[in-house]
């Protein structure tokens, strides 16, 4: 079983839509949860970083963690064509401080 599962998409939405991206993870010991955005031919860029259950908001982005269900989500409000990218979830903070596990990424296309 993979440590993190993420639907690869692709997900295509019209501009202005609310986007929901999701991951599940297997190990309840994970404490840190991250979302990265990766444009084509670029490295992953950190979007959101949370340490606990609940919601964290940053502009149009909201990260949500449900530790009881081992489920993490990223919501994008008022989506823009510039949001078109691959979104990676990541978890860490288990037994090994430096081991992080990444989802395989969801490709998002926001149509003008």
């Amino acid at each position: 079983q993979k440590e993190v599962e993420q639907d690869p998409g692709p997900l295509s939405v019209p501009e202005g839509a609310i986007v929901s991206l999701n991951c599940t993870y297997s190990n309840s010991a994970f404490q840190y949860f991250m979302w990265y955005r990766q444009y084509s031919r670029k490295g992953p860029e950190l979007l959101m970083y949370t340490y606990s259950s609940g919601n964290k908001e940053d502009g149009r982005f909201t990260a949500q963690v449900d530790k009881s269900s081992k489920y993490i989500s990223l919501f994008i409000r008022d989506s823009q064509p510039s949001d078109s990218a691959t979104y990676l979830c990541a978890v860490g903070g288990g037994r090994n401080f430096n081991k992080f596990y990444f989802g395989s990424g969801t490709k998002l296309n926001v149509k003008p």
Partner: protein, 115 residues
């Protein structure tokens, strides 16, 4: 802002060559990482380093080695390049435990082709 710089964006090498990929970070981070990213397989950890001259194997270390002589620089070495090492290589860094629980920050990657 954290800056992780990888020396080459694109690299083409031949089978059997020794290949060096270089990474530099400017945030005085203790921890540095090398991943490879392949379609459908996501990011896979090759090696990481938690201090100068210290290293640990990741999930796929075979065929690779690393060097960390200075805190800001972490090199990935392909001892004898093979075609199955054609991939996108990503370097990342993060602060140490005493700086709190920090996420990883990535460079822009090196797209390596082995012919």
């Amino acid at each position: 802002d954290v800056k992780v710089t990888q020396s080459s964006r694109y690299l083409v090498k031949r089978t059997g060559e020794k290949v060096f990929l270089e990474c530099v970070q400017d945030m005085d981070h203790e921890n540095m990482f090398w991943y490879r990213q392949d379609p459908g397989l996501g990011l896979r950890l090759i090696y990481f380093s938690y201090d100068v001259k210290m290293k640990e194997k990741g999930d796929i270390p075979e065929g690779y080695s690393v060097s960390r002589e200075k805190k800001e620089r972490f090199s990935l070495i392909l001892e004898s390049a093979s075609t199955n090492q054609t991939s996108m290589y990503l370097c990342a860094s993060r602060g140490g435990a005493r700086k709190g629980n920090q996420p990883q920050h990535f460079g822009d990657g090196t797209r390596l082709s082995i012919l």
